[in-house]
């Protein structure tokens, strides 16, 4: 009989808790494999990923009222964390999340306007946001960071990996990179600093691209801009070969001692330096952007 008296009271008390399911703080954890996969999806707010030594994923943070719920699941080495908004509401509802993952995990984060940060993860990372900023330490091979309009800042570990960074309007910034890099932006500026660079591809349309990279003995650089400027500082262990050409821009820098006109009457300048065939090599092309190249 006493249970029946408590039941309506408990039901009444549970109402605010139900509401909190769509807003308030969150602190949940789930067991995960040390080298498993963690997939995170959030629309707006913030996602902060941190690698740690435990074999579990922990999610802490806060959810705004506009958020329906947070789904956290794990099976077969794959943990998914998804901020779910009510049907028909695809933008309102911030979720600020700190997510601790086993440091050897591969991590995939998808966001719309949420900012993404990631530190201490050694596995492959795939980070993408539409307008949010991305700041990450990236050490895993075959990693990718891309945005549409948000700025991207990546710090490598100094160890060779393959990394792709791309944006449409956002700027791209890489420090302590090594290995292979693919850098693409339309109007954002791009800047990369690398050691032991074996292969660099870069392209901008109107953004400027600045590259400071110590090339390996057979390192390759292939960069292109339409109206953006290219600034290349590429020290190399042996003499550099170049194939540099601009339709209406200038070629300058410490290597630009023998710049020649492409044709007697038409526009265009080029700088072709031929050294060892399998030695380090730089190829750079622009339509109207200037090219500055130096190997010191």
């Amino acid at each position: 009989m006493r249970e029946f008296r408590i039941l309506p009271f408990a039901a009444l008390c549970s109402l605010p808790l139900c509401a909190l399911a769509g807003g308030g703080s969150v602190d949940r954890n789930i067991a995960a494999e040390p080298g498993g996969e963690v997939v995170i999806s959030n629309v707006s707010g913030r996602v902060d990923v941190r690698g740690w030594d435990r074999n579990e994923v922990r999610v802490t943070g806060s959810l705004e009222e506009g958020v329906d719920r947070l789904d956290l699941e794990s099976s077969s080495g794959r943990t998914t964390i998804k901020v779910v908004l009510p049907r028909g509401n695809s933008h309102d509802g911030d979720a600020d999340l700190t997510i601790q993952v086993p440091k050897g995990s591969s991590v995939e984060v998808g966001a719309v306007s949420a900012d993404i940060s990631s530190h201490g993860v050694s596995g492959t990372q795939r980070l993408k946001s539409v307008s949010g900023e991305i700041t990450a330490d990236v050490a895993g091979d075959d990693s990718e960071v891309r945005s549409v309009s948000g700025d991207v800042t990546v710090r490598g570990s100094g160890k060779p990996i393959s990394l792709r960074m791309s944006s449409v309007s956002g700027s791209l910034h890489l420090s302590d990179g090594a290995g292979k890099l693919d850098l693409v932006t339309v109007s954002g500026d791009a800047e990369a600093q690398m050691s032991e660079a074996s292969e660099i591809r870069g392209r901008t349309t109107s953004g400027d691209l600045e590259l400071r990279a110590k090339l390996t003995k057979d390192g390759r650089v292939d960069v292109e801009a339409v109206s953006g400027d290219l600034r290349l500082r590429v020290p190399s262990p042996s003499a550099l070969s170049t194939e540099i050409e601009s339709f209406s821009g200038d070629i300058t820098g410490c290597l630009a001692t023998n710049v020649e006109k492409v044709s007697k009457y038409g526009p265009g300048v080029r700088l072709n330096i031929r050294n060892v065939e399998d030695g380090p090599r730089v190829r750079a092309k622009t339509l109207s952007g200037d090219i500055e190249i130096c190997d010191k």
Binding site: V112, S131, S149, V168, S169, V186, S187, S206, F247
Partner: protein, 176 residues
């Protein structure tokens, strides 16, 4: 305005005389050639590089065609445009490519409409920059069709435009 349409081929005029007599100009050109030949002056020859340049231009356009083909085969489920107009009408870029781009632009415009104004302006500005760049390259190619650098920049810019448009179209797709 006369809206009458031709119904049969024999309704068309058999002769359409030129607005002016062309023969004096042709005769003068023939005479000039004869004078040059008699004077022992070698006639102007086609530059040796012209066939090679033509070949290069053809190769570039074939490459662009292959690019379009690859893109077309990868894409599916893109809506058909009703009267969508290309922003950058072009004589050099093949019509099939422009059609694909216009179809993509429809989806991109919808995506842009759903973006916050500041972000929309930023992204739309970048896409416009890309299209202006392609137009600039095309204009330069119009003056120098055999230029290998311009051909390469055009193909790469078209590829980049597809990448950027696809990135905007697909942005936030999994997250919402």
């Amino acid at each position: 305005m006369n809206s009458r349409k031709v119904q049969r081929i024999d309704e068309l005029a058999r002769d359409l005389p030129p607005a002016r007599d062309l023969w004096p100009g042709i005769a003068a050109a023939i005479e000039a050639d004869n004078v040059t030949a008699r004077a022992g002056v070698p006639a102007a020859r086609r530059p040796r590089w012209l066939p090679a340049a033509g070949m290069a231009a053809a190769v570039a356009l074939v490459a662009l065609g292959v690019l379009i083909g690859q893109y077309t085969s990868k894409q599916s489920g893109i809506g058909v445009v009703d009267g969508g107009q290309s922003v950058a009408a072009s004589a050099i870029i093949p019509a099939t490519y422009r059609k694909q781009r216009d179809e993509l632009l429809v989806a991109v415009k919808q995506k842009l409409a759903g973006m916050p104004p500041a972000e929309r302006d930023k992204v739309a500005g970048s896409l416009a920059t890309l299209q202006r760049s392609i137009q600039e390259i095309e204009a330069a190619l119009g003056k120098d069709p055999a230029n290998a650098l311009l051909q390469e920049l055009l193909v790469n810019s078209c590829q980049e435009e597809m990448r950027a448009l696809t990135a905007v179209r697909d942005s936030g797709r999994q997250e919402t």
